[in-house]
């Protein structure tokens, strides 16, 4: 099930970079976002999957398509700059490093970690079941431990809204 989702996702991510039409690459980007949302459902993060559909597929891709339609020469795609070969080599190198470090690390996964500590073994069932009912725990975490970051993100969104409006508004010659 994982590879059924992952392989089209990788292919559409490649097509975002390699497509010769900007509009088509935006559509492939939407496919990739939907794939990420399905991966979140596989990882038992249903709330994040819905948020992903709402924010990415609903808002960000629409913004990007607006930006594509406002600029000319869509059909010429995005040509490569002079760093094409070296950036390909660099990203392959980064991929090798990531792949080897992911492969050789001995992860503390939920199956092979030692949970026999006396304090933990009492609520081992609730540890195993936390992902089946995650939204109340997520809300609790967001409004207690991460309260400050939550407020800062709201300030950031307001600042982005005001900044975007100011940038788009331009110079009004009657108002000077």
């Amino acid at each position: 099930m994982f590879w059924i989702i992952a392989i089209p996702m990788i292919i559409s991510s490649f097509m975002v970079v390699l497509s010769t039409n900007l509009f088509r690459s935006a559509l492939f980007l939407i496919f990739s976002f939907i794939g990420v949302s399905l991966i979140f459902i596989l990882l038992r993060a249903e709330f994040l999957a819905i948020v992903e559909i709402l924010v990415y597929v609903g808002a960000i891709s629409v913004l990007i398509i607006f930006a594509i339609l406002m600029t000319k020469n869509i059909d010429s795609g995005s040509p490569s700059n002079s760093l094409n070969k070296s950036s390909l080599l660099f990203s392959i190198l980064i991929f090798m490093v990531l792949f080897f470090s992911f492969s050789i690390t001995d992860w503390n996964t939920i199956d092979n970690v030692n949970l026999t500590n006396a304090d933990i073994s009492n609520n081992i069932e609730s540890i195993k079941n936390i992902h089946s009912n995650s939204i109340p725990h997520l809300a609790n975490l967001l409004l207690t431990d991460f309260m400050l970051a939550f407020e800062l993100v709201s300030v950031l969104l307001i600042a982005a809204l005001i900044g975007g409006l100011y940038l788009i508004k331009g110079d009004d010659p009657d108002n000077d």
Binding site: V17, L83, V113
Partner: protein, 110 residues
């Protein structure tokens, strides 16, 4: 299986990295930045699904198992702000210089 998700995340991150480093059009660069942030989200949620740190669970604070999902939510919010500002800058540059290529925006070069 944790390694599968991390592998997928690494592949998508490197595709986005290649696009960011090698493309001329600013819209494609924005799209590739979105791909990279999505790869980070996948790996954060996969870690929060599979990894357990027993030292954090001594107090019975099992909510801390979901920290990766909270991180992914913050990343989504920051990505929304980033793409809004990016598109606004792109439209402003396009109004002034009639190009969306980042290689032609070098008026400060000389």
């Amino acid at each position: 299986m944790l390694q599968n998700y991390l592998f997928l995340s690494a592949v998508i991150f490197c595709i986005g990295l290649y696009g960011v480093l090698s493309k001329k059009n600013a819209i494609t660069i924005l799209m590739c930045v979105e791909l990279m942030l999505n790869a980070i989200n996948i790996s954060a949620v996969a870690f929060s699904r599979y990894i357990i740190n027993p030292f954090n669970l001594i107090n019975g604070n099992i909510d801390s198992l979901l920290t990766g999902q909270v991180l992914a939510m913050f990343v989504i919010a920051v990505a929304a702000a980033e793409v809004a500002i990016g598109v606004a800058i792109l439209v402003t540059v396009y109004k002034n210089r009639q190009t969306a290529y980042v290689t032609e925006g070098n008026i400060l070069k000389y």
